[in-house]
Structures are given as C-alpha cells and as structure tokens.
C-alpha cells in the first residue's frame, strides 16, 4: 500500500482517524530520503489545515507540529522556516482550540538552527495582542515562557531592540502565574532576563509583578510525587527581587515591611533577601533605611531560642556592613551605622547578667568587625577599652572570664584584618589585663588569663615578661592541678618563642637553675617537664638536652625522672617534629645515651622508669630515616641479640629497637629475632615479655615486604606452629599468639588471616579455651596506641574491621552445637566484634544480630551485657522494626537488667534502652506495656547509685508521656 501522505488524500485520512499520528517517523524518513518534499506534504495537508471546523484545523496543526518537532533541527533552510514561521504567526489569530498546537510548533521552530530571529518581532506582537497568556493551560504557558527564553538566548541584541513593548508583553503574560513549576521556571529565567534587558519606565510594573509573590507561602499537594517545595520557590524568587540596582528603593521598602512581619518564615526570607541584595544594590540605596534595618536585625539577632534565625541575621549583618564599607570614605552613613551597632551592643553587654547574654552581644560585635577592615577598626578601637573597663566593674567571675575570652577574639580579628599597628595602644592593654587575671589565686581566672595571653602573645611587652614568669614558674612547680599545669607550661612555651633571651636568663638559668638541676629535689619532676618542653624550641635545644643527657650518663639517682620527662615531651608530636628528633639524635646521640642507661639499669631499675626509657628509644627510632635506622641497628643488634639468648630481659631492648623500623628495613638478623620472639611468646614466664614478643612477631609480619622477605618470615611461623605437635597442645599463650598473627595479617589485607582466625574459632567451641578464644577475638578488634599503628610504620588497611566482621560472620556458621558455657563466650566474641565495627555496617544485618542480642541479655556476663545493650540502644535509635516486633521479649529482660547488681553501667544502659524505646517507636505498640513498665521502673528510682537513678528518672518520666496529652511525638 502506498503511503497516504504522498497523496492529497492525506487531509481526508487525518480527519477520519488518528492512526497517522503514530506514523510520523515514516514521514520523517521519507522526507529525509528525498521521497517526499516538505512543500508537497503541506500541500497534501491543505484540506485539513484550512478546514472550516476548528477541531479539524487543530488536528492538522497538531500533526504538522509533531512533524516539525521530530525533524532534525538543522534540516529546514532559512527560507522554509521563514515561510513556516509566517504561517504559524498567522495561526495565532485562529480559534482558541488551535493555539496550543501553534505554540508548541513555534517552540520547535525557534529551536531550529536556521531560524532567523527577526521573525520573532512579529511573533511577539501578535502573540501579546491575540493570546492572553494566563487564560492558557499550564503547559501552553510554559511553552510561551520557553519561547521567550530560547529567543533571548539566541539573540539578545535583537530582543533588546524590540523595546518596552516586548518587556510589557512579558510582564503582562506572567502577571498572575500560579503554578509552582512554572513559577520556578519563571524565577530562574527572570533573574537573567532582568539583568540583560533594560526595563526602562517599566521598572515599577515589573517589580510589582514579582514582589506580589513575596514572601512565598506555599504548601505542596500531599500526593505530589516530586513536589516543588516552598524553599525551592523562595530560593528562586530571592535573586529576582534584587536582580538590578533599579529595584533598590522598592525592594527595601518591601523589606522593611516584611522584616517586621510576625511570620518566622517571612523574617528569614527577608533577611536572606537583604543579604542577597547587597551583591547588586548600590550602597547609597540603603542610606535612608539603615536605622530601621538595624532595628529589625537587632531584634532577630538577639532572639532567645531560634538558632537558625540568629544565624541568618548574623550573615545578613555581615553582608550589609561589607557593602556599606565600600563607601566608607565618601559617606558618613557607614560610620553612623557601625556606631549604632556599637552603642546598642555595649548596652547589651553592660546589662548582661549571664554568660550566654554576654556571648550573644559579643558575637554580634565580632560579626560586625569581621565584615570589613573599616568596621573592624571602629569596633575594636572602642571595644578593647570598653571590655577592659567592664572586667573592672563586673564582679561575677564567669562574666569576667568570658570577657577575657572576648578580648582574645577581638585581638585575633585585628590580626585577621592586619590593623594591629593602628591599634597599638588599645591592644597593649590586653596582656596587662591578663596579668591582673593570673594574679588571682583562683584556678579559673589563671587558666582564662593564660589562654588569652597565649592568643595575644605577640602583643606582650617585654616589661611584662618578668611578672608573668614569676606566676608561671610558681605554678609549674607547685600547682597540683593538671589543667593549670599544662596551660602554664604552654604559656611559658609561647612566651619563649617571643622572648627567648628573657626565658633563657629567667627560667632556664634562673628559676630552674639548669646547671644545678638536681640540687633542689623539690618539684624536680615538674621543672624537668617544663624544661623538656622548652627544649623543643631551637634556641634552647642544645643547652637543655646536653644537660639532661649529662645526668643520664652519670646515672644520677634522678636519671629516671629525666627520662620520664623527656619521654613525655618528645612523644608529643606537636612539640617535637620528626626532623627535630632526628636532629637531636644526630647532634647529641640520644639513643646511645638512653640505651646505655637502660642496659645498666635493666635488672635493678624500676619497671616504670625503664618502660619510659624503652618508649623514648622506640619513639626516637620511629622518627629516624631508613638509613639512620639501619645505622643504629647495625651498631647495636649483634651485641643485644647475643645477650638476649642468655637473658630474656634484653628482649625489651631488642623490641624497642625493632618495633618501629621502616617497612623497607630488613637484614639477616630478622630471622633470628623472629625465631627468638616466637619462642619467647610461648615460653617466657614474664607477661610483659610475652606480649612484646607477640607484638614484635606481629610487626614483622605486618611490615615485611611481599616476596622473599615475607615468605621467609611466614615460613618460620608455620614451621614453628607445626613443630612439636602444637596442634594438639593448645595453650592459652598460643591462642594469644594466634590473635596477634591474625591481627597483623588482616591489617595488611593478607588473605591468609582466615587460616589463623579459623584456629581461634575452633577454640571457641572447646570448653577449656573458649574464654581465651574470645579474648583473642577482642585483641584482633582492639586498636592499641602503642602497637601496630602508623607511628610504627605499620600497614593498616582501610576497613579491616569490616573485613574481620564479614569473615567472623561467615565462620560462625560452622561452629558446632555449644553447651551453655561455651555459648556465653561465643556470644562474647560476637560482642567484641560488633563493638568495634562501625554501627552503620550493622544496620544491614539487624535480622541476624538482633536475635544474638536478645539471647545475650539472659547471660550474667558484664562485658557481654554492656556491649550488647550498647548495640541494642543503637538499633533502637535507628528505629529498626525487628526490635519493635520482639518488644514482648526484650522489655522484661531489660527491666530485669535494670536491677542487675554487679554493674551499674549495665543498669544504666538498660534503662537508657528503655528510654530510647519510648522515644523511637509508635505509641500504638508501646501503650500495652506502659503500666507494667511504670510499675517496674519504680524500684530503680531508689537505686543506690545516683547515676542509675538519673537514667531511671529519664526513662520513667518519658514513659509517663507515652500516649499522654502533650507528648511531642507524631504517632
């Protein structure tokens, strides 16, 4: 059958049936292949396009529009498009039924590549005259807006030349638009339209049309699958209202009115708009409104409870001041504005009776100061003296301390804007005030004073150094309070960076009397701490370290104190960088000195002192570079290893030398050490040595590079394990070793860990060893600060805990039937694993874990209960349904645990779970249990521990609210 569109019968066909609409792609194909000329197609359609019935004309237009839409955009020539455009423009005058198709078709035309933009003038004239936009359907209005936008993008200059008539047309076509989606589009389009097209005398009309939507009050229909939210609309409208400077005056009048609205949303929107407007409006525009604006902002900024509102107000104030500051040279209004803020905030500060009020007012001032350099200067110039005076007449200590803090903030602001020089006189008052504060005996004042002094240390005058040092050194020597002590040391450090000479004469040679350090035994430890801290400053390193090492090499009776102080300071990475430690090691031979001291004290010294020595060595080793490490090792290994074979105490030294080596360090002695460590890990009688041996094995396995080095070490391990029928002779120490090996391997992401994990898992079903098995699992899951971390150059794969969790989960499937005893440790191992895995991972396995938890709640094991309750609490907070389904079992068990005698933590946690349950789940499922729970919770109110009582009160008062009037819950 020949296609009807090739003949004039097309018109008849179109009128009679709708099937042809489905065949447009064939027509397009014919046109593209040249079988059909588009002119001929139009001729064939003549009958329907000029039909007397509007219905049929509509059909014809729709059909032709469909074809236009499906044609490739670059197919039609300019002449053709001109012709079709004329035709479509003419059709705009047709019956209203035809209009939708015409608009849709014209949108297709303007999108074509060869469309000549000069056609649009006529189109718009006719469109705005003939078609009342707002009487059209939603989609058709949308098409009109799209046409305008497309043309605007195509040729802005031509559209501009259409002049005010065009602008008026656009204004009147969108006047009264109500559909949220169209509005969203319009707002997006308008913000560029307004910037590009001059409005001329139509500014007022345009603003009126836009501003009638302000502030947006809109609620999306509840059944809308993809609703436009109020916030979307508000965000889109905001830039339109302040798109051009010409809107300035009207916009501000509007703003002033809406800022006083009682609606919270209107206020927030207005503040946002004001902030946004600062990007476009001229600073002069704000002049006449500043007083009212500040009044409104002031009201919102000092709002008591609404944090969001406060935040927005701060942002707005900041933007406004930044804007005004641009004309600070020519206009008095800026200064007046800032001074107005100053006066009202100073009043607020003076009247404040709580810290919260003071902080609120001071925050406003900081915002003002942060906005521009000019405002910063004005605010700080008057606020520093004011605050200093305030400190003088206020008597409550909390307010005085808060004002010290405020001074620190002001100083930092001045540094930020680089106006310190211009504020010299004012800034100098701050350290003076700090001195007044630290001269008080109270700890709070001293800490606050020192903290502020640290912040403003660069403003410290040299004549104040002496009095400060007096107080500080006294604190350092005699203070019992930890916080004060550390702040004091920190302050000395800060002053030393500015005045090294003064500190040298006053502290190091004066008060602490370095040369005769050990003469005065009193508070020696504290002085040593201070000195070792100061030694991190380059100027002092040499003199202090030398003196300290002298004491150590002399092996004075106080040597262990020196070692302790050095260890504590030097392990603080923020004081001593790796480079610094390397430098100390190469300049002063730190390791050699400590090593010889440790060796001589090995059997006689106190355990604690020695362990500080070991840590100091290990820490210094880890800071060294690969070459330096190798040098140290080759110097000492032979000797130590030899002694170690006869005396296991030397293993301590071996372990501190080797545990922090780089991954690439390897030498022939590693194998010997590995064998030694393996043997000691099982056979040593000393707990410490056993642990260190296990750790060293783990470090080696974790760090050795894959390939021969790793193979050799792993082989050693395997041989050792198969030696002497260890399979049969299970022992507790062996299980611990398994734990460390598993940990080392899993952390580097080596799959062989499953082999060792399996061994641990089999112990779980063995009555005798199940407890140790669960402890080994705990060991694998725990992070140790001193073992197997990046400080020791160990590898730590991401997510190794998740991996452990997955393997553990799959391996538990194979565990055979347990008796009650092993079951408990089986659950406990689960608890250890679950405890350390990120909670979010567990959310996917609630179905599997929840029964384990419920079961665990029956056992009388403190650790088990604590972890399981913790996870249960998390599940409840996440509102998992599984828990809701088994409330009948869980609630009695929790109530039972709320009277658990052995541990208050278990009692507290179970009560917390009860509290969270009342919070999380729907009233409907809670209500049946309410009365029982209230009754059963009563005894906990009289628990002998106060912390338990507190939680019981929280839970019980919450349960009282379940289903009661006034409960703040949706269902």
């Amino acid at each position: 059958m020949s296609s009807s569109w090739l003949t004039p019968s097309l018109s008849e066909d179109l009128i009679k049936n709708n099937d042809l609409f489905k065949e447009t792609h064939s027509i397009i194909a014919d046109i593209m292949s040249g079988r059909l000329d588009i002119v001929q197609l139009v001729e064939n359609m003549g009958g329907v396009l000029t039909n007397k019935e509007a219905e049929h004309r509509d059909k014809g237009m729709r059909f032709f529009t469909k074809i236009l839409k499906e044609l490739p955009q670059d197919y039609l020539t300019e002449a053709m498009i001109n012709f079709i455009s004329k035709f479509y423009i003419d059709r705009l005058k047709d019956n209203h039924r035809v209009i939708p198709a015409v608009l849709e078709g014209y949108l297709a035309i303007v999108n074509m590549t060869n469309y000549n933009v000069t056609n649009s003038g006529e189109f718009f004239t006719v469109l705005f005259r003939e078609v009342p936009c707002q009487s059209q359907l939603r989609q058709d209005r949308y098409n009109i807006y799209c046409i305008v936008q497309t043309l605007l993008n195509k040729n802005l200059e031509y559209i501009k030349s259409l002049g005010p008539d065009f602008v008026y047309g656009v204004i009147s076509s969108m006047d009264g638009e109500r559909d949220p989606r169209n509005l969203l589009f319009l707002f997006g389009f308008l913000s560029t339209f307004l910037k590009d097209v001059p409005l001329g005398h139509l500014v007022d009309d345009m603003f009126e049309v836009i501003s009638c939507y302000y502030p947006i009050d809109f609620h999306p229909a509840p059944d809308d699958p993809a609703p436009v939210t109020r916030q979307d609309l508000a965000n889109a409208l905001c830039p339109c209202l302040c798109a051009v400077p010409e809107f300035g005056e009207q916009c501000l009048v509007l703003l002033v009115e809406k800022l006083d609205s009682s609606l919270r949303l209107a206020k927030i929107d207005s503040l946002r708009l004001l902030k946004e407007s600062c990007n476009t409006f001229k600073a002069e525009t704000y002049g006449p409104f500043l007083k009212t604006l500040w009044a409104s902002i002031h009201r919102e900024i000092s709002h008591k409870t609404d944090e969001e509102l406060k935040m927005v107000a701060h942002e707005t104030l900041s933007a406004l001041i930044t804007k005004l500051a641009t004309v600070s040279n020519t206009d008095q209004s800026f200064e007046n504005f800032v001074k107005g803020i100053l006066i009202s905030m100073q009043t607020a500060i003076a009247e404040s009776s709580t810290v919260a009020q003071l902080v609120q007012a001071s925050k406003v001032l900081l915002t003002a100061a942060n906005a521009s350099k000019e405002s910063c200067l004005i605010v700080i110039r008057s606020m520093i003296p004011a605050t200093v005076a305030y400190y003088g007449f206020k008597t409550t200590s909390k307010l005085q301390i808060a004002s010290l803090d405020f001074l620190g903030d002001l100083y930092e602001m001045a540094v930020h804007w680089e106006v310190i020089e211009q504020l010299g006189a004012e800034v100098n008052e701050i350290p003076q005030l700090c001195l007044t504060a630290v001269s008080q005996p109270s700890k709070e004042y001293q800490i606050a004073g020192f903290k502020t002094l640290i912040r403003v240390r660069n403003a410290l005058q040299s004549e104040l150094v002496l009095p400060f040092i007096e107080v500080l050194v006294h604190n350092v020597q005699f203070s019992q309070d930890k916080d004060l002590l550390s702040v004091s040391v920190e302050t000395v450090h800060a002053i030393a960076r500015k005045y090294p000479e003064d500190i040298m004469t006053l502290v190091i040679k004066g008060k602490c009397d370095l040369e005769n350090l050990t003469q005065d035994k009193e508070a020696l430890q504290k002085r040593l701490n201070l000195l070792s801290n100061l030694a991190s400053i380059d100027d002092f390193t040499k003199i202090i370290i030398e003196e300290m090492l002298k004491i150590i090499t002399k092996n004075d009776e106080d040597a262990s104190k020196v070692v302790e102080a050095m260890n504590e300071s030097m392990s603080n990475a923020s004081l001593y960088s790796n480079e610094k430690l390397t430098e100390i090691e190469s300049d002063h031979g730190l390791i050699d000195s400590i090593l010889s001291w440790v060796t001589s004290e090995l059997h006689t010294g106190s355990k604690e002192g020695l362990s500080h020595g070991f840590m100091l060595i290990a820490n210094t080793m880890s800071s060294l570079s690969v070459e330096k490490q190798q040098k140290v090792l080759s110097k000492h290994t032979g000797n130590v290893l030899e002694k170690c074979k006869s005396d296991e105490a030397y293993f301590h030294i071996l372990s501190c030398l080797y545990s922090s080596v780089h991954q690439s360090v390897y030498d022939s002695s590693f194998e010997d050490i590995m064998t030694l460590a393996l043997t000691l890990s099982l056979q040593s009688k000393d707990d410490d040595i056993r642990t260190k041996a296990c750790v060293l094995v783990a470090h080696f396995l974790n760090k050795a590079e894959y390939g021969q080095k790793f193979e050799v070490l792993y082989e050693l391990l395997k041989n050792f394990q198969s030696d002497g029928n260890r399979e049969q002779a299970l022992s507790t120490t062996l299980i611990v070793l398994y734990g460390w090996v598993t940990k080392a391997l899993i952390m580097r992401g080596n799959d062989m860990f499953t082999f060792w994990l399996q061994k641990i898992m089999t112990t779980l079903s063995c009555q005798e060893f199940s407890q140790h098995g669960s402890e080994a699992i705990k060991l694998v899951m725990t992070d140790y600060p001193d073992y197997l971390n990046s400080k020791h150059h160990c590898r730590s794969g991401l997510l190794y805990k998740q991996r452990m969790y997955q393997s553990f989960k799959s391996l538990t499937g194979n565990i055979g039937p347990e008796n009650d005893d092993t079951k408990q440790y089986y659950l406990l191992s689960w608890a250890y694993v679950l405890e350390k895995v990120p909670k979010t991972v567990l959310n996917n396995d609630v179905g599997k874990i929840a029964p384990l938890i419920v079961e665990s709640l029956e056992y009388d094991n403190k650790d088990l209960l604590q972890v399981m309750l913790d996870i249960l609490c998390h599940f409840i907070q996440e509102k998992h349904d599984v828990i809701a389904l088994s409330l009948q079992t869980i609630l009695p068990r929790l109530l039972n645990l709320s009277k658990y005698v052995k541990s208050m933590d278990v009692r507290i946690k179970s009560l917390q779970c009860l509290y969270e349950i009342a919070n999380a789940y729907r009233t409907m499922i809670l209500l049946p249990h309410k009365q029982d729970i209230l009754l059963d919770l009563a005894p906990s109110l009289d628990d002998k521990k106060r912390l338990v009582r507190n939680m019981a009160v929280k839970a019980r008062t919450r349960w009282f609210l379940v289903g009661a009037p006034g409960e703040a819950k949706e269902n």
Binding site: K304, T305, S353, T354, V355, A356, Q357, T396, K398, K902, S903, M904, A938, P939, L941, D942, K944, K945, R946, L947, R949, N950, V953, K954, R956, T957, F960, L961, A964, P965, G966, E967, A968
Partner: protein, 155 residues
C-alpha cells in the same frame, strides 16, 4: 488565644553547670544518698509555662530552697514566683509536684510550697498544692495535664 504573659520581661539568671560525676559516684560499692542537688536537678529543667526558659534560669527554684531528709523520708521544696501576683504560681507548683511524683521513690513525702512572702495569695496556693484530692482532680483534666506534660517534658 494569645494571653500576654504576666511578667513580660523577667530577669534571666545564669544556668548552673551540670553536676560533675565524682569518683565515688562511679564506685559500685558506695551508696549515694539523695541530696538537695539531686532534687534540684530533677526540677531545674522544668519549663516556665510562659517563657521558653527553665525554672532555674528564672530562679523560681533554687538549690538552697530544697531540703531532703533521707532518714525521715521527706523532701521539701520551696519555689519563688518571679512576681508576687503571678497567676501561674499554682501551675508551676503543680508541675514541680507532678515531676517529683514521677521521679522520686514512693517512700518520700513531698511538700511543695511557695517561698514565704513571695506571693500575694501565698496561703491559697499552698493549700491547693497540699490538698491531695485537688491535685488528683487537676490531673484528671486533660488540658491541664497537657500543659504540665509540656512543661515537664522539655529536658
């Protein structure tokens, strides 16, 4: 219904810091007795019916106005309305009573009174608060319970 608050601009006081947990409290074997501070902690966070402020911030309740006797099982709470003609005094007293009723073990006899000389109709309020039946009747009133729950719930 928008009623202007009796005291539109009350004086706001500093909030006390939370009670520090001492080592004896962590010790399983030591028995902690009820003390004034604990009772104070139970009621300090009750909201004022008129303002978004707690009774502590308004100094309606103070630790020094509470007495606890563990031996005789009594708790006496005196509260101070912000102004002498405060119409909310009864409501505040009732809230304190309800909260203590829910949060204290039943062995305690609780007395809630207006601090002497701080309210115009002191005796009437005290009488109402001491009358068990009146309190019980008040708690049957849904609107009242709703307001009290809202005051008490804001922790």
């Amino acid at each position: 219904m928008t009623k202007i608050a009796d005291n539109i601009n009350p004086h706001v006081y500093e909030k006390n810091s939370d009670r520090e947990v001492t080592s004896t409290e962590r010790d399983e074997d030591v028995e902690d007795e009820f003390d004034e501070r604990e009772i104070f902690d139970l009621i300090r966070n009750i909201n004022d019916p008129e303002h978004p402020l707690t009774l502590e911030e308004l100094r309606v309740v103070e630790e020094s106005n509470i007495t606890v006797n563990n031996k005789d099982n009594t708790v006496d709470v005196n509260f101070t309305p912000t102004i002498p003609h405060c119409s909310m005094a009864t409501l505040i007293g009732l809230s304190i009573r309800v909260q203590l009723l829910r949060a204290l073990p039943s062995r305690f006899k609780v007395t809630v009174r207006v601090t002497e000389g701080s309210h115009a109709s002191e005796h009437a309020v005290n009488k109402q608060l001491a009358d068990k039946e009146r309190v019980a009747a008040a708690l049957e009133n849904n609107n009242l319970v709703q307001i009290i729950n809202q005051c008490v719930a804001a922790q």
